[in-house]
Amino acid sequence: MNGVEIDSLSFCYRDSKQEILHEIGTPVEAGEFVCILGQSGCGKSTLLRLLAGLEKPTGGSIRIDGEEIRGASLSRGMVFQDYGLFPWMSAGENIVLALRQRFPEMTKAEKKALALSMLEKVGLQREIYSKLPKSLSGGMKQRCAIAQAFAIDPPILLMDEPFGALDAVTRAKLQDLVLELWESGERSRKKTVFFVTHDVDEAILLADHIIVLGQRPSRIIYELRIPEEKRAKRETQFVDPEIISMRNELIRQINQDVEQHIGE
């Protein structure tokens, strides 16, 4: 059980009076892949930071299995767009550090073995273990960050535009990798994923629950739940009429909100 209840969530920064998020509320079932979609600067990352416990809400609450979150926790793994790895440690040391935090009882050898197997699982060679992040490509770094996130096996995974800075081919490969890792769990043990993106196609491909945030102060302007049998597939994403109409509706909702905002 990793159900998340976002209830009337509001947020504004301490030194600013402008509200970033305004009374956001939605229930998220355990094991859902939620994409938070919206234009740049609408507060998607702020919502993710609140879910991570890196910020405190100014109103409302976030509850996981009924318990309000207080601060960051290893039970909510986070993959950042960049800076996902500490650059002064090798890729392997980054994973081992996370494992050391999550499983203090593990021996050094066990942690190294698990880190190596996770690197292989995300399609990287074992030699990457001792390489500094600066010597890795953007895609390799994100694979390492994903390996780190999945190695500590958090029930909830937060991903902040993790593929935003990658080229289209690498992005597609990593999207498939994340889906594969997420789908490999049984529904009852599946991770609940919150994935921030401003790419409508990425959201449709990955999510079974899409939350569209409007302009600031941000609120949910549209929500879409996609049943298992209607989930998009990469091969048919741009030809399936149902997916196309879903896509058009999402774009229409975002544009309508933008126009409304300009009108105000």
Binding site: F86, W88, A98
Partner: protein, 256 residues
């Protein structure tokens, strides 16, 4: 070519201009001094300097040990103190706002000005030297550490937070490495001041040490030995600087 051969070839490829400059300077001195184109008393011949080198090599070694026995603890104390003050002030904005002007005021007093007080008030010369060297060298590292800690990218701290890194583990695994470019830059800047103060202290109060050896022979008018001591000191200080350079490059490999 074997491994050692490759290293030597790489060294010469990288430093051939440096080597040429040094050879030129030595050649110039040899030409001027050996042909008595300059005061022969103050600038002895290269043969005389080499002879002084060979004759006093054990004495110079003893003086080197004496200098290092002050230099090493002074660097350790200076670095530890700088990290302690820098981390505390870097992390605490209130304390930083209140104490930064005070630290700044204290730091601009040259330690040479304090030397008469230090030499008179300290229980012995060693303590006075340690105080003066630490005082001279600590500030650049303190300010480097404060700046480094203050300017750590928030995303590193967020990452540390999500991994539940707290306390000393966060300090040693995240904060100090993230701030290390600024800390090391401050430390390296302070090193030359450390050497200046060491030599100064040895010249004016010690009974051993590289600075003492140079001063003693200069006072006795033995300029061949003075030059030998002078060159020996430069070589040692350049070696120490090179060692720190290597350590710096190793620690900051991730930034290069």
């Amino acid at each position: 070519m074997n491994g050692a051969g490759k290293i030597i070839a790489r060294f010469f490829k990288r430093y051939w201009i440096t080597i040429l400059v040094y050879l030129f300077l030595i050649g110039l001195y040899a030409y001027v001094a050996n042909n008595h184109l300059i005061n022969a008393f103050l600038f002895p011949t290269t043969q005389a300097i080499c002879k002084a080198f060979a004759g006093d090599r054990y004495i110079m070694l003893l003086n080197l040990i004496a200098s290092l026995s002050i230099l090493v603890p002074a660097i350790v104390i200076s670095l530890s103190l700088a990290l302690l003050i820098g981390v505390i002030m870097g992390m605490n904005r209130g304390l930083r706002d209140a104490l930064h002007p005070v630290l700044y005021t204290i730091s601009v007093v040259p330690s040479i000005l304090l030397s008469p007080f230090a030499l008179l008030l300290a229980p012995n010369f060693r303590t006075a030297s340690l105080f003066l060297i630490v005082y001279e060298s600590v500030w650049a590292t303190v300010f480097g550490t404060i700046t480094g800690i203050m300017t750590i990218d928030r995303r590193y701290l967020d990452k540390a937070e999500t991994l539940e890194l707290h306390g000393f583990r966060k300090l040693f695994r995240v904060m100090l490495p993230a701030a290390s470019p600024s800390i090391i830059s401050g430390f390296v800047n302070s090193l030359s001041g450390t050497f200046v103060m060491l030599v100064y202290a040895e010249m004016y109060g010690a009974e051993y040490g590289m600075g003492y050896y140079v001063r003693q022979n200069a006072m006795l008018g033995l300029y061949d030995k003075t030059w030998a001591g002078f060159i020996f000191m430069i070589v040692i200080l350049v070696i120490i600087m090179q060692i720190f350079e290597k350590i710096r490059n190793r620690l900051l490999l991730w930034t290069m």
